[in-house]
Symmetry: C2
Subunit: 291 residues, 2 copies
């Protein structure tokens, strides 16, 4: 773990102090990685993050938060990010470095290019891969990123030069940093996160609307619990994520629907060998993931 | 926990000593619930169960196993059950009680009626709700059923009178016993287990066949791990389960596909409120399940 002296990085602003931003802020504070962590979230999350000791000071607004900050971490929900960038742009120090934590990168990069003005060059698109079905500052933990991956998606060499600087500051989170092309990032995360969430939500909604909904709560075993856990995720937050990365999400959806049609067809025809082929293809792939 | 004296129940036969049967056998042995637990599985599972100490004796065949046994627990894979019943019928004691552990009940009841002859009256359809993506005797644990539900599905009053007798013997597993109508059982388990498995397999196969398959292994986070865990389940076993309960499974599939179509339509139209409605319906239902 790289723990840097706080000198020269007196103030870090964290915009959005829910589960992700609150965990970043909490880790910076816990390790004394800077002199002051200023946070901002609309009420009541900001107050709660202050109560929980995740931040040193609660700012009154986005521009108040970034005022004088040498580093700015945007951890707001995706639909709020363009507005957050617009609000911060005039108040940013001319040498402030900015990163974000959103789980899709193309739309955030487009918003940054549009809203940040000259600070776009000092913006490094980022994505810490940690989450759960919970959210808000009460779900924040300074150790949330320990051992997890944290991706950076620079779109030009100017942005790329900040990777090492951010690694030094954020190293206290215990994350493992790497870089990935933003287009590939968005396709991969549609496949491994956004579409699986959509599927879990569709399964949950189908059960909820069916006449077996109460029995399903009663008889849920480990299988349903595991497959539906993320189907309890916050609806507004996930609608934002799915729509933000809707192109790659619909590509994943198309591949899934073709496979689903094959499976239902095999069931309707009682075609055991076609069914075994699908199940075996899945099983062999899944066994490559070590739990 | 009800621990009964072993007197009068000197021999219990367990046909199929994989994860489920091996765990039943192991629990009976661990608690001294009978004098002898005889097991049978085709090689190599039978030998392995003996090595692991799950059974007292390995029988040479199904009929050898049930010979002289006062209680018979069928824990074979679903497609094997009719053949197992046919093989045991002539060798059963005239007072032997029989139960099974299959996760669908209508087809097993039909097989029992066809194959067990007069012993059908002494057959109590059962279903211990415990499982994982693993299988075989190495996945068996005497404590597997601790706190889990164990359902009985008698189809007539004669069968129903055995519920209490089986509860007394199987109480050592720590399971919580209850009764449910077999038709309702099969519809509920299509909804909470069989179809969620099919969905996870379809998702796994779609990812496996896509060009992002390797990246998906690399970047799998908690969401994908949870939703796909059961997609690693054994293909042959699950093809058997899905086909065995194919009517209710296709009903669940139909409800799911209608919801999936609504979701994809909302994504294609970028209809945020339609999307939020689906996600929120799911989320409110899922939060009723306490993890």
């Amino acid at each position: 773990m790289i723990v840097s002296a706080s000198a020269g990085r007196s103030r870090v602003a964290v915009i959005g102090v829910g589960m992700i931003g609150g965990s970043v802020a909490g880790a910076l504070r816990a390790h004394g990685a800077c002199e002051e962590v200023v946070g901002y979230s609309p009420a009541p999350d900001g107050e709660r993050a202050l109560e929980l000791g995740l931040i040193d000071r609660l700012a009154a607004s986005v521009s108040d938060a970034v005022e004088g900050a040498e580093r700015v971490v945007i951890a707001a929900p995706i639909p709020a990010i363009p507005g957050v960038m617009r609000a911060m742009a005039p108040a940013l120090r001319s040498d402030a470095l900015i990163t974000d934590c959103a789980s899709s990168k193309r739309s955030v990069i487009a918003a940054a290019e549009r809203e940040l003005g000259p600070a776009f060059e000092r913006f490094l698109p980022g994505h810490p891969i940690a989450g759960s079905e919970r959210n808000g500052p009460d779900a924040a933990r300074p150790e949330l990123f320990q051992g997890k991956r944290w991706l950076f998606c620079p779109v030009n060499p100017t942005q790329a030069q900040w990777c090492e600087t951010w690694r030094q500051l954020l190293g206290v989170t215990g994350a493992r940093f790497s870089e990935i092309d933003p287009d590939l990032h968005d396709r991969v995360f549609a496949e491994v996160s956004h579409w699986p969430h959509a599927l879990a939500f569709a399964m949950g909604a189908a059960i909820a609307r069916g006449e077996l909904a109460d029995h399903a709560v009663n008889f849920a075993g480990a299988g349903l619990r595991d497959t539906s856990r993320i189907a309890a995720s916050p609806a507004e937050l996930w609608a934002g994520i799915l729509l933000d990365n809707v192109g790659p999400v619909l590509e994943s959806a198309g591949r899934f629907r073709a496979e689903l049609d094959r499976m239902i067809d095999a069931l309707e025809r009682r075609d055991r060998s076609a069914l075994v082929e699908i199940l075996d293809t899945s099983s062999r792939w899944r066994r490559r993931i070590v739990d």
